[in-house]
Symmetry: C2
Subunit: 188 residues, 2 copies
DNA sequence: CGCGCGATTGAGTAATTTCAAATCTAGTGG
DNA sequence: CCACTAGATTTGAAATTACTCAATCGCGCG
C-alpha cells in the first residue's frame, strides 16, 4: 500500500529502505467512504493528504451557493486546503470523496520535522510544489485565454482517466461553465 | 542593492553575513530599460529572476493574438517563465519591463547547486513556491467564482500600489476581461 | 498647437446563463 | 424480468452578460 508513495517519491529522490521506513513513520493512514468529508469549510486543517487509492474533490462554494472545483485528486496526487494548512486559518474548501478512498496523512508539524531532518525530502517537496505551481499557471492561462470548449478538450486530452470517473456536472464546475453549456458542446 | 534580497530571505530563514555572501555569489545582476524584453516567446529560459527594483509583466499571447497577463512582478517578487525554466522547453511567455528594472538572476544550475549546498536555501525556496502556489489557487478560485468586477475590486484592495503603476488595459488583461468592460465598471 | 496613447462611451452582436421541462441511466425491490 | 425512483444529462427558449468595433474624449509631451 505504501509502495504507491515509495514509487511517487522515487521519481524525484532515491531513498534506501530504511530511509523510506523513516519517512513513512511520519504518516498516518486514513480510509474514507464515498461521500465522506475529509475537510469541511470552517474547520481547522492540520494535515496534508497523499491519495493511495480513490478519488476526491476540493471545492469552494461561493456566496451565491455555487460550487467551484479547485482540484480533483486521484491515486498519486496530493490534496489539502493549502491556504488553511499553510496559514493556519479556517478551511475555505470542502474536500470530500467521490469514491472510497485510502490516504496517507502528514501533519504540519511532522512535515516540518521531516523536512528539517531530511534534506532529500525537503527537496522532494520543493520539486512537487514547483510542478504544482507550473500546472496551476497553465490552468490560469487556460482560464484566461481559452473558451470553455477548448478548456474541456484540453482537460479531456490531459486526463482521460478522470472522465470515466467523475460526472459532467463536476467537470463543468472545474472548468468554470454551467453544466448545460458543457453539455451543449461535449456532445460534438 | 542586495539588501532587498537579504531582507526577502530573512523573512523566512536567517543567514549569517558570510552565508548571505555565499548565496549572493550564485546570482548575477541585470539592468533593463522600460520596454526591453527579459524573455521572449520561443527562446530558451535559463534563469529565474528576483526583482530588486522596477516592474515587469509576464504575458501569453494566444492564437487569436490576444495578450493575457500571467503575472506582474515588482520589487521583492520573483519572475520567470517557470514552465520553460523547469521543463527546459521553449518559452511560451513574453516577459518585458513596464519600467526600468534591476534584477538578480540565478541560473537553473546555480539554483540546483545552491539548494544542494544549503538546506536552508532549499527550505527558503520551498516556502516561497508554496506561498506562490496558494496565491495561484486563490486566483483560480477568483476566476471561477467571481465576476470581473469583484476580481477587479479584490485586486485593487490587495495590490493598490500596482494600480498607480500599470495601465487599466493591462489590468484588464490580467483579470481576463476586455478593457472596455473593465472601463465600464471601474468608474463606479 | 497638434500628435499619440490610454480611457471611455455607444450600439450591435455573440456567447453563456438561467429556468424549466424532457430524457436517459443505473440501481432497487417486487 | 420489469417497474420505479433518484440522479445525471440533455434540450429549448428567454434573458443576461460580455465582447467587438467604432467613435470620442482627455491629457501629457514635443
Amino acid at each position: 500500500m505504501s509502495t504507491v508513495l515509495r514509487q511517487h517519491i522515487a521519481a524525484i529522490v532515491s531513498l534506501t529502505d530504511t530511509e523510506f521506513e523513516q519517512v513513512l513513520s511520519y504518516f498516518t493512514t486514513k480510509k474514507l467512504k464515498k461521500h465522506q468529508y475529509l475537510v469541511q469549510e470552517g474547520s481547522e486543517v492540520t494535515q496534508e493528504y497523499f491519495v493511495v487509492s480513490g478519488l476526491l474533490k476540493a471545492a469552494y462554494t461561493n456566496e451565491a451557493g455555487k460550487e467551484h472545483i479547485l482540484q480533483f485528486a486521484m491515486e498519486d496526487w496530493w490534496i489539502s486546503d493549502y491556504l488553511a494548512y499553510l496559514q493556519q486559518t479556517p478551511a475555505q474548501l470542502n474536500i470530500n470523496c467521490l469514491e472510497d478512498t485510502t490516504l496517507l496523512c502528514i501533519s504540519i508539524e511532522n512535515k516540518k520535522k521531516l523536512c528539517e531532518t531530511s534534506h532529500k525530502m525537503e527537496h522532494f517537496f520543493r520539486m512537487k510544489v514547483s510542478s504544482g505551481f507550473v500546472a496551476q499557471q497553465q490552468r490560469i492561462l487556460s482560464l484566461l485565454s481559452n473558451d470553455a470548449q477548448s478548456r474541456y478538450e484540453l482537460l479531456l486530452s490531459q486526463y482521460p482517466r478522470l472522465f470515466q470517473r467523475v460526472s459532467k456536472t463536476l467537470i463543468a464546475a472545474y472548468l468554470g461553465v454551467s453544466r448545460e453549456t458543457l453539455s451543449r458542446f461535449s456532445g460534438k
